[in-house]
């Protein structure tokens, strides 16, 4: 019971802290930590679920109305969590190192961007953008097309292992990005580096008049937050069901020893293609949503660094671990969007104020050492330290322990 009480106190305190200091990063971090504490706490399952639903569906939106940026962070976390969960199937379970994963995200995003904006008129004449309601159809279209793309990538690379596979997938990711960059001629499909805008957003399921006090932009933020939450929820359930089945066991067997897996009757081709297709389909769905949320997309969002970022989330959280992938996505996103940015802003303030540290005037700091430039470095250092001290990730995959029925003799 003490765990439950502690978690509730922590949640309440962090919520209160955010309401008093709406711009304090620390207060919002405390809220995130209390959700992690909730996950780790020993509580009755129904209580845990109830509190989790309250925290995510009531507290988080409420925090969002206080500081809209936090809602944006939470939505980004959700998007990356879905991506990490998809990549977790390919890399964590099946052991197929995919360095071009963001390509599938791009496929989903560009699908809706092209047909959900006037862009498609340049290719097909008139009639676009499609009505906003088509967004939901395109979630399925994005899923299917990304899955097919995953299979198409999978087919030629099936015989490759390890490093070779990584190189080919890396190339594939670049091919998709370069296509997005250059398919503005001869037919203008992607509008090249200029990107596509405005992309339709899905229609609000309720009239804005129902929530009179809330700004329209915040309404959409809230709406996208809940959509992302729903998608991540579905992705987690699908992930868990696949993992705890003969399909998931076959994937893990392939990761452990491909030859032995095949000798035990696991069809390699089918299993690997299924892994690629599943991983890709999650990225496709969330890509469609990403395009609608951003209203504007261009090839910049789908660089190699994004693939590496998602991979870092999976590794940081713990390969093959579902909670690990979600936590990894949270940690990396929050680090990038909040902690490192906040840190560099703070250093900048100190510098501008001419603070003196150990007899050194920060105002004399050369511009090459500008705090904003440390961001990637700090991130890199964290990754290195993690790999040295906790190589299995923050929340490593736990082997399922099962009670066996007594043998009937």
């Amino acid at each position: 019971m003490s765990h439950a009480a502690g978690v509730l106190v922590l949640l309440a305190a962090s919520g209160y802290a955010v309401s008093i200091f709406p711009h304090s990063i620390l207060a919002f971090l405390l809220f995130q930590l209390s959700i992690l504490a909730l996950y780790l706490a020993r509580m009755r399952p129904w209580l845990k679920t109830t509190v989790a639903v309250l925290a995510l569906c009531v507290m988080m939106p409420a925090i969002g109305t206080i500081n809209g940026y936090y809602l944006e962070v939470a939505t980004q976390v959700g998007i990356f969590a879905a991506l990490a969960l998809g990549l977790n199937i390919v890399v964590g379970l099946a052991g197929l190192l995919d360095l071009g994963y963001v390509a599938f995200f791009a496929v989903g995003a560009y699908l809706w961007a092209i047909f959900g904006s006037p862009q498609a008129n340049r290719v097909f004449g008139g009639g676009f953008p499609l009505a906003p309601g088509w967004f939901f159809v395109f979630l399925l279209v994005g899923l299917t097309v990304a899955a097919v793309t995953g299979v198409l990538l999978g087919l030629p690379v099936l015989r490759l292992r390890g490093d070779y596979l990584a190189i080919v997938t890396l190339g594939f990711g670049e091919v998709i990005r370069v296509l997005a960059n250059n398919l503005d001629k001869p037919i203008n499909l992607t509008n090249g580096p200029k990107g596509i805008t405005p992309i339709e957003r899905p229609p609000l399921p309720f009239s804005p008049a129902l929530l009179p006090g809330v700004a329209p932009s915040l309404l959409y933020s809230l709406y996208f937050y809940f959509l992302v939450l729903l998608i991540v929820g579905i992705v987690v359930v699908v992930n868990r069901r696949l993992e705890n089945s003969h399909i998931g066991r076959a994937w893990e067997a392939i990761r452990e020893d491909e030859t032995a897996a095949q000798a035990m009757g696991v069809p390699l081709v089918r299993s690997k293609l299924l892994a690629f297709a599943c991983g890709a389909s999650f990225a496709g769905v969330i890509g469609v949503l990403f395009a609608a949320k951003q209203v504007f997309i261009n090839p910049e969002s789908f660089t190699f660094l994004e693939s590496i970022g998602v991979l870092a989330m999976v590794i940081l959280g713990g390969m093959g671990s579902i909670p690990g992938a979600v936590l990894g996505a949270t940690v990396v996103t929050v680090l990038n969007l909040q902690v490192l940015k906040g840190f560099s802003l703070w250093l900048n303030e100190l510098r501008n104020a001419g603070t003196v540290v150990l007899g050194y005037d920060l105002a004399n700091l050369p511009t090459q050492l500008e705090p904003a430039k440390y961001e990637r470095m700090v991130f890199g250092v964290i990754l290195v330290l993690m790999m040295i001290f906790r190589p299995a990730g923050i929340l490593p995959a736990r082997r399922r322990q099962r009670e066996l029925a007594e043998p009937q003799q």
Binding site: R249, E256, M264, Q401, P407
Partner: protein, 258 residues
């Protein structure tokens, strides 16, 4: 005479210019234990790899229950009823013992992807019976209490027996065991042999065995095939093979020093 369960005819496998296995013929009748022996490098494991589809033979035929296995993928051969263990243990080392056996049962699963996602009663029943069966197989090899242990944490002898349980998961009619007693003590090897006899009686299977331990071979085999430099040099009941001059020569060398 009973029909042969398994038959190899003129099986040849070359690696570059090296003839690893040359024109091997033999047949295995049901419910027997047939051993393949021979010095290191005689081509025993290569032969297994040909039988289980890891290598394609350069010539010759392999038939099982009247069906040709040549050209089938390893998983198709397993599904057809031939399953193996490996000389150098190849367990799924980060999975638990029972999960290893469950992977072995992969070809017995008839669920579609949809059943997995829907988690209906079909899935639950199938999964339940899979786990029950896997538990039984672990009991057979004496590893039931270690069902939830990660494979790489198991002692060596347990890993060998887990490989057998995993192969049994595929419910094979023909079990190929590649040096199952390698590295075992006398007592452990003896216990494993007792286990093999039980398997043949209980599971109605046939065993093709690669073995170095002569005591084991002579004790348990119904028939012995001797390979040397990729050629079959002798074949017959253990007592007969033991007296065969070429076998003695292959194992002890020529009597040139005398």
């Amino acid at each position: 005479m009973t029909l042969p369960l398994f038959q190899a005819k003129g099986v040849t496998k070359m690696f570059g210019g090296l003839v690893a296995v040359n024109q091997i013929d033999f047949l295995v009748e049901p419910s027997r234990i047939v051993s393949i022996i021979g010095p290191n490098g005689a081509g025993k494991t290569t032969l297994f790899n040909v039988f289980t589809g890891l290598y394609a033979p350069d010539s010759g035929s392999v038939t099982f229950k009247g069906r040709s296995l040549v050209g089938l993928r390893p998983d198709e051969i397993t599904a057809a009823g031939v399953c193996r263990t490996f000389q150098n243990i190849r367990l799924f080392s980060n999975m638990t013992a029972i999960e290893n056996v469950l992977v072995g049962m992969h070809t017995r699963v008839t669920l579609a992807a949809w059943d997995v996602l829907a988690r209906g009663s079909r899935f639950r029943l199938a999964e339940e019976s899979l786990w029950r069966r896997a538990g039984e197989l672990l009991t057979v090899v004496g590893l039931r209490t270690k069902a939830n242990e990660v494979a790489r944490h198991l002692p060596y002898g347990d890993q060998r027996r887990l490989e057998i349980a995993r192969a049994l998961g595929a419910a094979p009619s023909l079990l190929l065991l590649d040096e199952p007693t390698a590295g075992m003590t006398r007592g452990e090897a003896g216990a494993l042999m007792a286990l093999l006899r039980r398997l043949i009686a209980e599971f109605d299977i046939t065993v093709l065995l690669i073995e170095h331990n002569m005591r084991v071979v002579m004790e348990i085999s119904d028939g012995v095939i001797v390979l040397d430099h990729g050629e079959k040099i002798a074949e017959g009941p253990p007592a007969e093979v033991r007296q065969h001059p070429r076998v003695i020569e292959a194992y002890l060398g020529r009597r040139s020093h005398a």
